[in-house]
Amino acid sequence: MPPELVERQGGSSTDDSAKALAGLDALDTPTVNRVPWWRRASSSVLPPVVALVLIVVIWQVVWASAVLPEFKLPAPMAVWDSFLTIVADGSIWSILWTSISRAFLGFAIALVIATPLGLLVAKVPVVRSAIGPLLSGLQSLPSVAWVPAAVLWFGLTDATIYFVVLLGSVPSIANGLVAGIDQIPPILPRVGRVLGARGLASARHVLLPAALPGYLAGCKQGWAFSWRSLMAAEIIAAGPALGIGLGAYLKNGSDFNDIAAVFSAVLLILVVGIGIELLVFRPLERRVLRARGLALS
């Protein structure tokens, strides 16, 4: 023990220092304002509900004023009845299952492809300069554009659907991961290296967790794109081998000039898209961001 320290740090000064430290900690610790859950719920649930009610009321008024013919604008109640019909005959479950299972499977395959792809683009400069721009470009190409080609290649089969879904979602997810990795503060990998993280350990303990927020944002967008592409594919490529999903149900309504069925299909597509985002992605993102102190208001 260095002798001069004993003089500098007498017993009482160590005590003082402990107290000073405790005081500083108490003063400096950031305070968190906890909003009660009911207030949070009412502020996040109430506005959209009011908006929804307003829209339905306006819809009803426009319909009642009869500026548009009945075959163009159905009454809200007619759409509701049309919806109840498929609930009553039970076909709604097979319709939802067909589309949602496809979207999930497609999204899962997209994750498996896009994750290593994103890692490669982010970490290997040659790969980045070779396919980075292509990947961003594909993101702005509407994946419906692939449907005609896919039909010619794969016929009216599930392969066509998955092909279109993948082209819609893979670029978003991969780009999200690339952005997530690019945004990692350079100090973190350095610290990782000083602490003994090399190669795979560095990817697992530093790189991937640090890139998680960007990756999740990419996944969220990837889900939206995969749902959108799926609907486009189902509407355009309808056939007996494909079964009846939400897209085909919409297409049928249109083919039979059944505007109420068309509306009910569009609303269902919207509800499923929003529902998955609210039930799956929003809570996930919240948890990840909150753990890092990146509040998501």
Partner: protein
């Protein structure tokens, strides 16, 4: 015959290194080549004894951080040799640089985890170290829930964990090497003052060797046993002072010398 000579040499080497934690001889570092080359360090000879607290003092851009990077193995010297005879050196930066997704305790555990220690031993060690930096009870908090000073102490605990993590047998703080790059520069004056005292206490309790970089003369004199003044561009050792052997005038003397070094760079 040869074996006995070899063993003699080995013996002599051990005798010397037993006291030397860090030895730099003729170390130079140049970044880049050709006309754009920057010589950050030149001809540095430096020895740091085990358990010593050394301050590297110098103006901005004189190569202090570069020197620490050489010691930590983050960079290789262009000339000369760097030898470090301690457990793996660990680093503390101006920012706490905690992993924002891990709790305080898991941050301290990270180097132990990377060294392959089991979960139980890891937890126990992290608890000890947090207690050492007087942060018992905040192990479950995330970095963003802590103040700057607390974060820097978690970072210190993590560095201490790293310094003693190389093998599982290193128990209860086998002396390591702590490299600190202006760790308190971003803190307010009051917190800095308290943390300087804390660092001395921790150093005393753990027996680690510390190489502490600062551009604050007062901090250097308060903390260290020996102050080494570096010149700028290229960084060379100008002078060193043993703090114990000098009286209260040391602060002014070092400040005067630092000022000379800086003035010599005026165009």
């Amino acid at each position: 015959m040869t074996t006995s000579i070899e063993s003699e040499i080995e013996h002599a080497r051990r005798g010397r290194t037993a006291h030397t934690a860090v030895e730099l001889s003729g170390v130079g570092k140049t970044f880049g080549t050709g006309t754009g080359a920057v010589t950050a360090l030149r001809g540095i000879d430096l020895r740091v004894a085990h358990g010593e607290f050394l301050c590297l003092l110098g103006a901005s851009g004189c190569g202090k951080s570069t020197l620490l990077n050489l010691l930590s193995g983050l960079e290789e010297p262009t000339t000369g040799t760097v030898s470090v005879n301690t457990a793996r050196p660990s680093f503390m930066f101006q920012e706490a640089a905690l992993m924002p997704w891990l709790t305080a305790a898991r941050n301290v555990e990270l180097p132990l985890q990377l060294a392959g220690q089991g979960r139980g031993a890891r937890r126990e060690r992290a608890r000890e170290l947090l207690e050492l930096v007087r942060l018992d009870g905040v192990g479950d908090k995330r970095p963003h829930e802590l103040s700057g000073g607390m974060r820097q102490r978690v970072s210190l605990a993590r560095a201490l964990a790293a310094a003693t993590s190389t093998d599982g047998s290193a128990q209860g703080g086998a002396p390591g090497l702590l490299l600190m790059d202006e760790p308190f520069a971003a803190l307010d004056a009051i917190t800095r003052d308290v943390l300087q005292g804390e660092l001395l206490r921790v150093w005393e309790a753990t027996g680690t060797t510390v190489v502490f970089v600062t551009h604050d003369v007062r901090e250097a004199v308060r903390l260290s046993q020996r102050v080494v003044l570096l010149s700028s561009r290229p960084g060379t050792v100008v002078r060193e002072w043993s703090v114990d052997e000098h009286g209260p005038e040391l602060h002014d003397e070092i400040t005067g010398r630092l000022r000379q070094v800086i003035t010599s760079h005026a165009a």
